[in-house]
Amino acid sequence: MSRSRIQNISMHLFLVVMSLISLFPFYWMVVSSTNKTSDINMGKFTFGDQLLVNFNNLTSQVDLPLIFWNTSKIALLSTFATLAVCSIAGYAFEIYQSKNRDRVYAALLTTMMIPFAALMIPLFTMFGKAGLLDTHLAVILPTVSGAFIIFYFRQCTKTFPKELIDAARVDGVKEWKIFLYVYVPIMRSSYSAAFIIVFMASWNAFLWPLIVLQSSDLKTINLVLSSFASAYAPDFGLIMVGTVVSTLPSLLLFFAMQKQFIASMTGAIK
């Protein structure tokens, strides 16, 4: 066997092993949701017949539709608000000239480097003073203006044909109408890619909702799962059904828009 053939085979083998490691926890999640907790703890990794039992246990302990509704409501509202705010900001940074534009932009980008843990306490006291703690609004608001998404939209705007704006201005179209009726329709694919990124981030958010939301009828699915898992003797069968339920929406969204997602992940840093 030639040397390049050995290299070729070992390359495939390496990727197969990596893929199996990547996929195994998903398999484990689905299999465990069909098993009893005692079997899961014993490391049983074949399908069982407890799926319905586990699902019933889950729905008897939490109001699943309500929790699901809370999570979707937060994720969708914050996604739409983020897209609106950040796309306008990204558009403005690229289109309008002003003296301090680059300085403001640099300051904005440095905020990406501040870890959330450092912002947690000021944010918490701020929302406390505004009387917004324990509301969904408090979960949504801090996510709305994200430096990364503004950065993303500015990069996308660089490819936008600016002659269209000049043409519209000559025709006497108002600035906000140019944005709404010229820019937005053309940039549809950028919007859909940003939609996935922001939606997944807010669907999966944990730390900030954990701090803000106290009432049990406001909680999101991640908070509920985490509280189940930290119990003294966690019922893994029930929890695994919950993780399947919580992973499905972002998984489905990802499969539906896979191409745009990967393109946007890679496009933003070019």
Partner: protein, 235 residues
């Protein structure tokens, strides 16, 4: 000034730095290796491999933390698998032993984020002019040397970008340690973020002191980012 005499703070700082120093290089090397394989023209089923390795990024931090917690139980699936292969003779107490708990966290983070970094490298590699490699191949440069002397230098800006984002990510490590080990056993996986959270919301609330710890994280993020810029420029 209480900060410098606080053993909990020192532990949290040390743990966070340990995660940083061990996990970030492993993940970056691993995702570089994977993406250079995925970029090879001779590879079959590219889409499938890429999809499989990227998939962990879709899961929520809470969901995968719980998955790993159950997989790494004392008689859980990982131990039975290792026992079955005769790699170990007796089960490892992944979550109850200070050393193995750290290892578990590192494995978990690597699983979740390697695919994410891979995507950045892959796109950067696809932008490298193919003729560079052709010239190298004609000159008889081996693929391994091509990787170190062509691919890595050309990818430097992207490697810098991912190492900064991973560094910041590690400094904010919270969801995983909270859900897998809750900082234990004996604070061996306590991170700075979890410590701030405990100070502000679990123990008797102490916002002032927690804010002081927050400043330390900001300072660290800034210093580490500057350091990485410097290293990248010197080469």
């Amino acid at each position: 000034m209480r900060l410098f005499h606080d053993p909990m703070f020192k532990t949290a700082l040390l743990n966070t730095l340990t995660f940083l120093v061990i996990q970030v290089p492993i993940m970056i090397l691993l995702s570089l290796a994977i993406s250079s394989c995925l970029n090879s023209p001779r590879l079959k089923y590219k889409q499938w491999f890429r999809l499989a390795i990227f998939l962990p990024c879709v899961t929520s931090l809470v969901a995968y933390s719980i998955l790993f917690k159950s997989m790494f139980e004392l008689d859980g699936v990982i131990n039975s698998f290792l026992l079955f292969l005769h790699i170990i003779d007796e089960p490892i107490a992944w979550l109850a032993d200070p050393f193995w708990a750290k290892v578990t966290i590192i494995i978990a983070i690597t699983w979740r984020w390697t695919g994410y970094n891979m995507i950045f490298y892959l796109s950067a590699m696809q932008n490298i002019d193919k003729s560079v490699y052709e010239a190298a191949r004609i000159d008889g440069v081996s693929p391994i040397k091509q990787f170190f002397f062509i691919t890595v230098p050309l990818l430097k800006p992207v490697i810098l970008f991912t190492s900064i984002t991973s560094t910041i990510g590690t400094l904010q490590l919270f969801d995983e340690v909270m859900n897998i080990t809750n900082g234990g056993p004996a604070n061996s996986t306590l991170t700075l973020s979890l410590y701030i959270y405990n100070l502000s919301f679990s123990f008797v609330p102490n916002f002032g002191y927690a804010a002081a710890v927050s400043y330390v994280i900001v300072a660290f993020a800034a210093v580490l980012a500057l350091l990485q810029f410097k290293v990248a420029k010197d080469r």
